[in-house]
Amino acid sequence: MRLGIDVGGTNTDAVLVSRGAVVAAAKRPTTADVSSGIVNATRAVLHEAGLDGSTVTRVIIGTTHFANAFVEQQDLLEVAVLRLAGRSAASVPPMSGWPKALRERVAGPCFQLPGGYEFDGRENCAFDEHAVRDAAGAIRAADVDAVAISCVFSPMRPDMEQRAAAILRQELPGVLLTTSASIGRIGFLERENATIINASLMGIARRIMQSIDGALLEAGVRAPCYVTQNDGTVATSAFAAEFPVLTFGSGPTNSMRGAAFLTGVQDAIVMDVGGTTTDIGALVHGFPRESSIAVEIGGVRTNFRMPDLLSIGLGGGTRIRLGNGTHELTVGPDSVGFRLIDEAYLFGGSTLTASDIAVKAGLAAFGDPARVPVSSPQVIAQILERFRQVFEEGLDRMKTTAADVPVILVGGGSMLVPRTLRGASRVVVPEHAAVANAVGAAVALVGGEADRIVSYEGVERKAALLELERVAFDSAVAAGADPGTLRVVDVDETFLSYLPGAHAQVRVKVVGDLATAGAGT
């Protein structure tokens, strides 16, 4: 029995999944300490299923808590930055382009040190152990606890970063360290930014992960605990405490993975209709399509592996303004959000929302439709037509081909979406769609990845790809995968333009089930 928990901004959802089916689901308010919300939701779902905590064999948690902490600048550590780059990048100091307040909060001492590689793996500049030791001394003197280490082309050759990390651990016992190769891919500044963000969150991440372990024990669950990452795969809770940044995009990823599980459809467009917005993403072979462009978090450019999402301003709480002589009918873009239950006409409020119209039109049954002051069937039809246009345009933008595709609806506002859409081969609303995030967490897999620039001159292409596969397999096994279930889900090969010769950036991604050894299922 797997327990999936989604800690959202408003609700903490819990589901129990066994043998490919949802056994029970529960929803409780999220609490400021995170952990009591988890205790409450866990107890509720176990009660719902009539089961004891000992029947749970795996707990998998999805949370956007760390992303929120960064954006809201809560509990961030000051971070020292060690760059192993020789002279490269000296013209662009660490944290260039960050919002000023955030930079002032996070920036510790920065060091531009010898080191770094070229695109073909040659050394750009030799590593200098003494320079790293000197930097460690300066970091100790500045009394800074967290350090980010970046090195040019470290995604291809992480060894210099590892050497520097080993020296820092020796010199600064208890230091909180993040190396850039463990965080991101090619793209130096963006990867360094992500590394700094991660280091700044290591304090809060350790505290939260410990409190989650405590919460599960309190609810009577002793199973191993995992946390979902941006790409829909899991990490151990100890790993998540070290790499909080890798959970930043896990919310939408879990909802899409949950949608795939609940419907059995592996290739589709998923619309997660919330209170304020609808997030539209593409499922490819059961995983979210990833964004290929730089993602900004709290105003900082990064190159995380994030799902490619289109957020449109239409959800259950979106405000509707009726047309009259002077202005036209408008749908949004503002919303009453979580205040829906106070402000919508349905619940005795005085704001016209998308939910009011949907219920009045008979698309859903909640609240009191008699309170909604719109009765003209023409006006209602006109508003519903506007909803249709918005969803159809969003669908069209996220499709990758001109052919019709299946659409899966999840989230609390799915009644707003018409059951036939131009561009959709069919529209599916699965059972348990409201807790798709927690379901996605419960069914998460283990992944591994390799990302290198490869020269096919002198190396046969097939052999080069096999070597990358091996690296990806090893990283998945290290993350807890059962080697027998591993499979390659993506090979992305981009040849380098403006450069002679056959150099390509190749990314190989593998996934598999969680290994059973030691824990039982």
Binding site: G86, R87, F119, N124, L496, Y498
Partner: protein, 374 residues
């Protein structure tokens, strides 16, 4: 719609340079690389009170030494191995030693894309003025595709430099040889490096360079921003700026629609491909073929624009340029066409950088004629 007026001989501030970056991206015609890193470098280098001096070519003395510069190599590599900040100055100093005299000014070899900002960085570091002109009037994939080569000037001596301080002096017998040598040396130097080439006299700049292109880029970038800030429609402002520009005065929307197909392949170090854009609610389609930069636009098989005229795909709401590597299915775009500088459309120029130089079977026809623009 009043156009953006930019005074002659002036000091460029950081906000000006941000507008310039936006304009350079537009003039990249789909290529030339993302100016983001160069903008970060500029921000680190230039204080709130410091400026870059921009002068007209007419202000140069005939015997002044003017140095064109830019970067060559793979954008993927330059996203990982960022400049030390010393490459350009090292190359300039080496060239000065070779020529036995100091430089008086610098110019971008290529105004389109990130190279439009490379010369600004060198001007700041060397304390030299930037001349309001360039050698390509847009972006091109190879360094011989430049007006200085077309006019018979020599690329060499040219100097390649890298982040480590390596310095390669090229004394090639001809300009195509210089491109070949520079391209292979760029691999040994780590896949991305700085190039100073085509050392020019002030007189040669006035006789050959594409003048006013820095001002044009700045005006284009500023118009897009102001149009967006003022009333949400940047296109009227963009076209006013293009119409008032010195080099790109014939311009218009070639197409408005959504990207419905993208095909790409990489061959011999070039990113080749094709984007198909479909009109809203209509069956009409425009197809753009690219080789790093956009080369040809066809509507229903009929040609509407050809290299060297500019074909730039922009977001249809913000007018922000979308470079070829960022094109994706579903994007709502406008395809903007603009006439290339007249000097690039002469027979001698077309032989070097016209449609046939890119392997297209068709002969060049001007964008105004193809679209019946009066």
């Amino acid at each position: 719609m009043t156009s953006v007026v930019i005074p002659k001989a002036r000091e460029l501030t950081l906000p000006d340079l941000k507008d310039l970056a936006r304009g350079c991206a537009f003039l990249g015609s789909g290529g030339g690389g993302d100016p983001h890193t160069a903008m970060m470098e500029l921000e680190a280098l230039i204080g709130p009170d410091s400026t870059v001096q921009l002068i007209d070519a007419g202000a140069l003395g005939d015997r002044d030494l003017v140095v064109p510069c830019g970067w060559i190599g793979a954008p993927t590599v330059s996203a990982e191995k960022l400049p030390s900040g010393e490459e350009a100055l090292l190359g300039l100093r080496r060239l000065e030693t070779l020529l036995g005299r100091d430089a008086d000014a610098v110019i971008p070899v290529e105004i389109g894309g990130s190279n439009g900002l490379a010369a600004v960085l060198l001007a700041l570091r060397a304390g030299l003025p930037l001349v309001d002109c360039d050698g390509m009037g847009r972006a091109f994939p190879e360094s011989q595709m430049v007006i200085f080569n077309i006019r018979g000037l020599r690329a060499c001596p040219a100097v390649l430099t890298d982040d480590k301080g390596n310095c390669v002096v090229i004394e090639a017998v001809d300009n195509v040889g210089e491109e070949r040598i520079a391209r292979s040396a760029s691999v040994a130097l780590g896949g991305t490096c700085h190039l100073v080439e085509y050392p020019l006299s002030g007189r040669q700049v006035n006789e050959t360079a594409l003048c006013g292109t820095v001002t044009d880029a700045l005006a284009i970038g500023r118009a897009i921003r102001l149009g967006r800030e003022a009333h949400g429609d940047p296109f009227a402002a963009l076209f006013a700026a293009l119409k008032a520009s010195q080099q790109f005065s014939r311009a218009g929307v070639l197409f408005d629609g959504k990207i419905v197909d993208i095909r790409r392949e990489t061959k011999d170090g070039f990113s080749l491909g094709c984007a198909v854009i479909e009109a809203f609610g209509g069956a009409e389609r425009l197809e753009v073929e690219f080789k790093n930069e956009n080369l040809v636009a066809r509507v229903g098989g009929e040609i509407r624009a050809l290299v060297p005229d500019l074909i730039t795909i922009v977001d249809r709401e913000t007018a922000e340029t979308i470079v070829t590597e960022r094109l994706r299915y579903g994007q709502r775009v406008k395809v903007i066409g603009a006439s290339a500088p007249a000097a690039l459309c002469e027979p001698a120029s077309l032989a070097v950088l016209g449609p046939q130089a890119f392997g297209l079977k068709t002969a060049y026809r001007g964008i105004a004629e193809l679209n019946g623009w009066k």
